[in-house]
């Protein structure tokens, strides 16, 4: 395989079909009027900005989740995949996913046995240091929202 062809397959490892699908048709996209928790995530250097909404049920379960804003394919797909993952979870379980996803992307953990499922589609981002912030943006917003942190989450 030529260097250029090898390279073309590498870029496909970043923009996997699942990533492109979620970027084109993000799930749970929009405002959640009944949100009990909300936080903004922004990446000041590139201008990506997402607002995350969570409706927490009285029994501590994430009953509904949504996000809106704008960003690149990686940040939108990551937010969309996150929304599918945390829906129906308790806050602690959602934070456990967060620690695993962010840890894997930053190279600080290889996961601790948790089944990341579709979230493994984000693995290709690891090879692109300048894009890791795109993939972690929504997850930082998730932490802020669940912690009721009034400060907007930034990747800087």
């Amino acid at each position: 395989m030529s260097a250029a062809a090898a390279n073309q397959s590498e870029i496909r490892d970043l923009y996997r079909e699942l990533i492109l699908d979620h970027a084109r048709s993000p799930r749970h996209f929009g405002v959640l009027p009944a949100a009990t928790h909300s936080a903004r995530g922004s990446n000041p250097l590139c201008g990506d900005s997402l607002q995350l909404y969570i409706e927490m049920h009285a029994d501590g379960i994430i009953n509904a989740v949504s996000f809106d804003g704008n960003g690149c394919a990686i940040s939108i797909a990551s937010a969309s995949l996150m929304s599918e993952t945390v829906l129906g979870l308790e806050a602690d379980a959602a934070l456990n996913y967060l620690a695993n996803v962010v840890g894997r992307l930053n190279g600080t953990t290889d996961g601790n046995g948790i089944d990341l499922g579709k979230l493994r589609a984000l693995d290709g981002v690891k090879e692109y240091p300048s894009r890791v912030k795109c993939a972690t943006l929504a997850w930082h917003a998730l932490r802020s929202a669940l912690n009721n942190d009034p400060q907007s989450a930034t990747t800087e």
Binding site: S2, A4, A5, I11, L20, C46, A73, I74
Partner: protein, 419 residues
């Protein structure tokens, strides 16, 4: 004696500019298995071998401090450093070498003028005028000095093409305005601002003008005496010289009246605890040991540009920009951002609804280097209602192959995102 055929002359000048690509070692490499198509010179340009060599030669054989020693190396270093100043003086046709002040770059030059020229003069109610096109470095220093003094910052509007609305700019220029600061060429859009007309109009009203020439210096011939700008600032690294050096041109009588910007060695004549006598121009503004190696590189790059000829460079780039714009327009889903009638070397764009950062990554995989994002001109992006753009920018070493490679890579990005 027969006159040269103008068409032939143009062709040979074109060939001379086109041939200079080989002078830039960084361009002769592959990136991700593709030849490098470097289309990000508006962010920072590549350096020709003669300039790299001048820096290395200085470091190897002539390094010492300037203006201080009586030994041979110090003389050599001083000659190189001051020789580069003379080269810049000639390059911009300044009336005197006293008007050519070294800075670390455009940003420092603007901050110097804001703090040394404006700050002592500004009163509450005074105004500084800029345009909506400006780079953050021609916005924030004025915001800071306005906050310090109670003066007000006013912004002249632009139109959908990315042109400054000159009549609306003139309407702002009343007796409250103490300085007009404006870009010569927009970094985000490439619009060429009619600064000569604007300076003449401002001067009729007694208003001095600072021109941010960072994006103009590598592309157009500069003539300070004809332009009549009061201050003109630019950076080495955007004109094929290294980072860490730039130039503040200022009219001598203005610089003379300004207090020093920083205190230290080299900017003094005599120091005692009772007081200090400042050095003469331009040294009054050059405190501390300067970036001598960068000056060596800047001097060599300026000679390099003069050998080719700025008019030939401008004409070559103009034709290349026309090709770039025409080729981009052929692509379905292409939205060009910034279509001013007069432009230099930059084309911003959006493709379908592909985010510029995704384009940047995909293009890099095909050897094409472009800039993506807000280009340090967030107000321009806000004006167009977009978070950022992809920006291809040209320099004298680019050619049609680079543009074809860009267009081909954009097609691949489209395919990937079409789904």
């Amino acid at each position: 004696m027969s006159m040269p055929n103008p068409a032939q002359q143009t062709r040979s000048e074109f060939a001379k500019v086109a041939a200079c690509r080989a002078d830039f070692p960084a361009l002769a490499q592959e990136i991700n298995g593709h030849p490098l198509a470097y289309l990000d010179s508006a962010a920072s340009s590549q350096q020709p071998a003669v300039s790299i060599d001048a820096m290395a030669e200085y470091q190897r054989h002539s390094h010492a401090n300037v203006h201080r020693g009586v030994h041979t190396l110090s003389h050599r270093a001083t000659d190189i450093y001051e020789g580069a100043r003379d080269a810049v003086k000639s390059f911009i046709n300044a009336a005197s070498r006293k008007e050519v002040v070294y800075t670390s770059g455009t940003t420092e030059g603007i901050n110097l003028v804001a703090q040394s020229y404006c700050r002592p003069r500004l009163q509450p109610g005074d105004r500084i005028v800029i345009s909506h096109l400006e780079h953050h470095s021609n916005i924030v220093p004025w915001q800071i000095v306005c906050e310090q003094t109670g003066a007000e910052l006013l912004v002249a509007p632009i139109n959908e093409l990315g042109e400054v609305l000159v009549d609306e700019l003139y309407a702002l220029l009343d007796e409250r305005v103490k300085l007009l600061a404006i870009a010569h060429v927009s970094n985000a859009l490439g619009s060429v601002v009619p600064v000569a007309d604007i300076i003449a109009e401002a001067h009729q009203r007694g208003i001095p003008v600072l021109v941010d020439g960072a994006q103009a210096a590598p592309h157009v011939a500069l003539d300070m005496q004809a332009l009549d700008a009061d201050f003109y600032v630019f950076s080495g690294h955007k004109m094929f010289a290294p980072t860490g050096i730039g130039i503040l041109y200022g009219k001598e009588h203005l610089l003379d009246d300004m207090p020093p910007w920083q205190g230290g060695g080299d900017m003094i004549l005599e120091v005692s605890f009772a007081g200090t006598t400042y050095n003469e121009l331009p040294y009054k503004f050059e405190a501390g040991t300067p970036n001598i190696a960068a000056a060596a590189g800047l001097g060599a790059s300026v000679h390099y540009l003069q050998d080719i000829g700025m008019d030939a460079i401008a004409e070559y780039e103009h034709s290349l920009l026309a090709y770039l714009t025409a080729e981009l327009q052929k692509i379905d889903g292409m939205r060009l951002i910034g279509c001013a009638e007069h432009k230099a070397s930059v084309q911003s764009f959006l493709l379908d609804d592909i985010h510029p950062h995704d384009l940047g990554t995909i293009l890099d995989h095909q050897g094409v280097a472009i800039r993506t994002g807000h280009h340090c001109a967030m107000p321009v992006m806000t004006f167009f209602g977009i978070p950022g753009t992809a920006r291809a920018s040209l320099a004298l070493y680019n050619n049609r192959d680079d543009i074809d490679q860009l267009v081909d890579a954009l097609g691949k990005a489209k395919d990937m995102f079409a789904g």
